[in-house]
């Protein structure tokens, strides 16, 4: 006998007629409403993290990078591989199945889940694992995100499965450039003004990345260099685009009440938002190409869980998914840090520089630290985690201010079809 509550709500109406009363009351209660969910706030703690050297790692395979990241996390958490009860692994194109993690790390007979959510895959490992830990299924869980891009010889990301007609001539920079063109038009920026605004984001992120020993592109650039770089997808040039990078990052998480057994300066998950839409901005004439509605919604979810009312005032550090400079700019507006169309003012004022009012991508972001697709979400968390612990590698990188609350934004897709995950991390009170 199947409990009535387990009858799938999408089941055949005729067959489930006898359960109608109960089923309808369940449906009635949930239809059109937000899920009635307890907040994830303060239920899960990060107790260890690792990140391998990002870059064109010609001498390292995916397994090498996974080992580097995972063992750094073990050591950081003070645990052994045998302590791990379950694992989540994220990669978009460098491996399949849980064994892709178990083989290099010799994990033995534990549940391992391979997740993929486009370029938000790294953060998806943390998101999925967090709910498993929060519900009490496991105490110690390993998350690893990785990607080995540089073995393909391709420029940009491999396209994977493509529709033979609708899917071709599609590049990630092209998709974001269409947002930039429209953004400039709507907010009255001339192409030069617009490109210069974006160039400042690139200059900032390169400045930050140049100071991180694990970053891919460790070199400062000038506005002139950015503006004069070869075009990739106008209005975006080479320095508006993130690096094509190899890398891996890892996190060890546990239930919050167990965290103190491992360390004092653990970092708590305060909120996680993920909002995916039908992704039909390309087809829908109503989509305006300047708003990122999925990101707006994901941020609201995360803020609500974390109890954040004024993100600009309350957040101390932001790690934004700057696959392209225009993405960082539009995201600043979508998550409520800048008013719509006004990000330029803060960018010009230096608000988001390393020691500015609200540092964004203090480690260099995807732009300079690099973007091994499946690893980036965890790499962002790695930076916030280290800054909160006061353990940025070099003193000049350590933020001067108290870092209590940070936002990490990892996304897949492009304007019109976004897949954003926003995670709020905080120090214990």
């Amino acid at each position: 006998m199947i409990p009535e509550a387990c009858i799938p709500i999408t089941g055949n109406a005729d067959q489930s007629e006898k359960h109608d009363t109960k089923r309808n009351s369940i449906l009635h209660a949930s239809r059109g409403r937000k899920p009635k969910m307890e907040t994830i706030k303060d239920k899960v703690a990060i107790i260890g993290m690792g990140c391998c050297k990002f870059g064109e790692n010609w001498d390292k395979g995916a397994d090498d990078m996974i080992i580097d990241a995972a063992y750094e996390a073990y050591e950081d958490a003070g645990i052994d591989r045998k302590d791990i009860q379950a694992a989540w692994v994220g990669t978009t194109m460098s491996g399949h199945g849980g064994v892709t993690l178990a083989a290099p790390l010799k994990l033995d007979r534990i549940p391992i889940t391979h997740v993929e959510n486009f370029c938000a895959t790294g953060m998806e490992t943390l998101r999925s694992a967090s709910f498993a830990v929060a519900c009490g299924a496991y105490d110690i869980v390993l998350c690893v995100g990785f990607e080995k891009l540089k073995d393909t010889g391709l420029a940009g990301l491999p396209a994977g499965y493509m529709h033979p007609v609708l899917g071709i001539n599609v590049t990630a920079p092209g998709r974001w450039a269409m947002g930039a063109t429209r953004y400039f038009h709507v907010y009255g920026l001339s192409p030069n003004e617009g490109r210069e605004t974006l160039a400042k984001i690139s200059v900032k992120n390169h400045y930050n990345g140049a100071r991180h020993p694990k970053a891919h592109l460790r070199r400062e650039v000038t506005i002139e260099q950015v503006l004069n770089a070869p075009l990739i997808a106008w209005p975006l040039g080479l320095f508006d685009c993130c690096g094509n990078t190899d890398g891996a990052a890892a996190a060890i998480i546990t239930r919050a009440e167990l965290a103190k057994n491992f360390r004092d300066d653990y970092v708590l998950i305060k909120g996680i938002g993920l909002a995916i839409g039908p992704g039909l901005g390309k087809e829908d004439a109503d989509y305006d190409y300047v708003h990122l509605p999925e990101t707006e919604f994901a941020a609201q979810q995360a803020y609500q869980q974390a109890g954040i009312k004024n993100p600009r005032k309350e957040l101390d550090i932001l790690e934004l998914h700057d696959c392209f400079t225009i993405s960082e700019l539009m995201t600043l507006e979508a998550i409520g840090i800048c008013p719509k169309g006004k990000a330029k003012e803060d960018i010009d004022a230096g608000t988001f520089t390393l020691h500015g009012e609200l540092p964004v991508n203090a480690d260099g972001g995807l732009k300079s630290f690099g973007h091994p697709v499946g690893a980036s979400g965890l790499r962002e968390c790695y930076e916030i985690y280290k800054q909160m612990q006061g353990k940025a590698e070099l003193p000049e990188r350590q933020l001067k201010k108290e870092v209590r609350l940070g936002l990490s934004h990892n996304q897949g897709g492009h304007p019109g079809s976004l897949l954003p995950i926003i995670t709020i991390l905080g120090r214990k009170e």
């Binding site: 529709h163 092209g174 070869p230 106008w234």
Partner: protein, 473 residues
């Protein structure tokens, strides 16, 4: 008696000056320029344009057959007429046929169409001729040949031009040919080709049809006849006794070039564009024999003035600035491509989605009325499931909502202008822009849709629609 009910033509936007070709080879240039198909065009796409132009304002349901003529069909085995019919949105229960291999294919198809209408087996037949021939680099043919397409609708009601008489003869001669594996035209010694091929046959056909109809040169308002080049055209006019200045349709060698099996029909359309009711036209075409027709223009011609035809397409042009780009367009030289994965070619997808990909229909929600492309089973706006009908979109004009100029995307002519277009102000279409000058691409610019080849991956051709700046004179 069957006659011409409508006409349409297509000339690609690019023109290559013959001086630029001559520059590459240190040769003497023939005068003027030639029309060059863009990298994403071929005989099939040009035929679609001509057929759509021809059928403007005409109920497509009334067309009973489509004949496609070309010496450069995209496939050696596989019909092109079926593709043209689908892209032009003709109905399924029609006769389609390809007429190929002869420079005379266009008029052979025309003759077959006339016979079909006269026999009563079809009420209306569309004939299209389209060619994109290659002369071997450095040869005079390379300078002479241009690309283009023509279309005629034949029927026996509302005719703009009656066909008073038709004449054909066949002739076996190896003058110009290509073997299965040849990319370029081959030809025997010019003096033989002209004297025993073109001149002998053309004179024989014209004199026979004139004799049959009891006509002499002075009875002809306009003589329209094929010739391989400008000099031979003028010589033939003299031989046939026509006054070159007043009685002969200009062959447009200096603006169009010899468009192969479409050439004579394009000249005929140019003649019809400036004809008056009552004009008598002699129309003759050469290739493995000759076809000749005597035509009489009717008052209905006045209803045909909204075609782009030859005139508008000739006036709407863009220079192809260098010969090297021409070599690239025609894939005559290998070029380093962007380091990107080649596109997929999946015939089942192209077949399954033919209504939206080839006929370019969108889905119109029967509940809320919104139109989407690609077609949506579940409405984006109101969520209605499977309550939609296909509606044609290819004729709708739009504006460019946003775009990028992508240098990374794999293309036969980078950069790629990726476009979000709003058709009729409310139907969103995400597509590529072709025939564009990248310095002139702007948000808000008016665009229209055009049928193009997307790629040649997998040893087959994949077609779809792109947007382009509106072609106007």
């Amino acid at each position: 008696m069957a006659g011409i009910v409508s006409y349409g033509a297509y000339i690609p936007v690019y023109r290559l000056s013959r001086a630029e070709i001559a520059r590459a080879w240190g040769r003497r240039a023939a005068p003027g320029e030639k029309a060059v198909a863009n990298y994403d065009e071929d005989s099939a796409t040009m035929a679609v344009e001509a057929v759509i132009d021809c059928l403007k304002g005409i109920d497509k349901q009334t067309v009973d057959a489509l004949y496609f003529a070309s010496t450069t069909s995209p496939y050696r085995e596989k019909q092109t007429a079926s593709l043209v019919a689908l892209a032009a949105d003709l109905r399924r229960q029609i006769v389609t046929a390809d007429f190929t291999n002869s420079l005379r294919s266009g008029t052979i198809a025309l003759r077959a169409a006339v016979d079909a209408v006269n026999s009563g087996s079809a009420k209306r037949v569309t004939v299209t001729a389209s060619d994109c021939r290659l002369g071997i680099p450095q040869s005079p043919y390379e300078q002479d040949f241009g690309d283009g397409a023509a279309a005629l609708l034949l029927g026996n009601e509302d005719v703009i031009c009656e066909i008073e008489s038709a004449y054909s003869h066949t002739d076996e001669i190896i003058d110009i040919w290509r073997l299965e594996t040849d990319q370029f035209i081959k030809a025997w010694e010019d003096r033989f080709v002209i004297a025993e091929g073109y001149v002998r046959n053309m004179k024989e056909a014209v004199s026979n049809i004139m004799k049959k109809q009891g006509l002499s040169a002075k009875d002809i308002t306009k003589a329209v006849f094929y010739a391989p080049d400008e000099r031979r055209h003028a010589e033939m006019a003299r031989e046939l006794g026509f006054d070159l200045k007043t009685q002969v349709q200009n062959p447009m060698f200096d603006r169009l070039g010899n468009t192969g099996c479409a050439f004579a029909m394009m000249m005929l359309i140019a003649a019809l564009e400036s004809s008056k009711p009552g004009d008598r036209i002699l129309f003759a075409n050469y290739g493995d024999g000759c076809d000749a027709f005597v035509l009489r223009v009717t008052p209905e011609i006045e209803n045909m003035r909204n075609r782009r035809g030859v005139k508008v397409h000739l006036a709407s042009k863009m220079p192809l600035l260098n010969y090297e780009k021409y070599l690239r367009f025609r894939q005559i030289i290998p070029v380093e491509a962007q380091a990107r994965e080649a596109a997929n070619a999946f015939p089942p997808v192209a077949w399954r989605e033919r209504e939206q990909l080839i006929s370019f229909h969108g889905s119109k929600c029967k509940r809320c009325g919104k139109i989407f492309h690609p077609m949506q089973r579940v409405c984006i706006k109101c969520g209605a499931k499977d309550e939609w009908e296909g509606v044609p979109l290819s004729h709708r004009k739009g504006i460019l909502y946003t775009y990028c100029i992508d240098y990374l995307a794999l293309s036969g002519d980078p950069p790629t202008v990726v476009s979000k277009v709003h058709l009729d102000g409310e139907i969103g279409v995400y597509c590529l822009m072709t025939d564009r000058d990248i310095d002139k691409v702007r948000i808000g610019m008016p665009v229209e849709m055009t049928f193009r080849k997307m790629h040649d991956s997998g040893g087959m051709h994949t077609y779809y629609w792109k947007c382009r700046p509106i072609r106007e004179a």
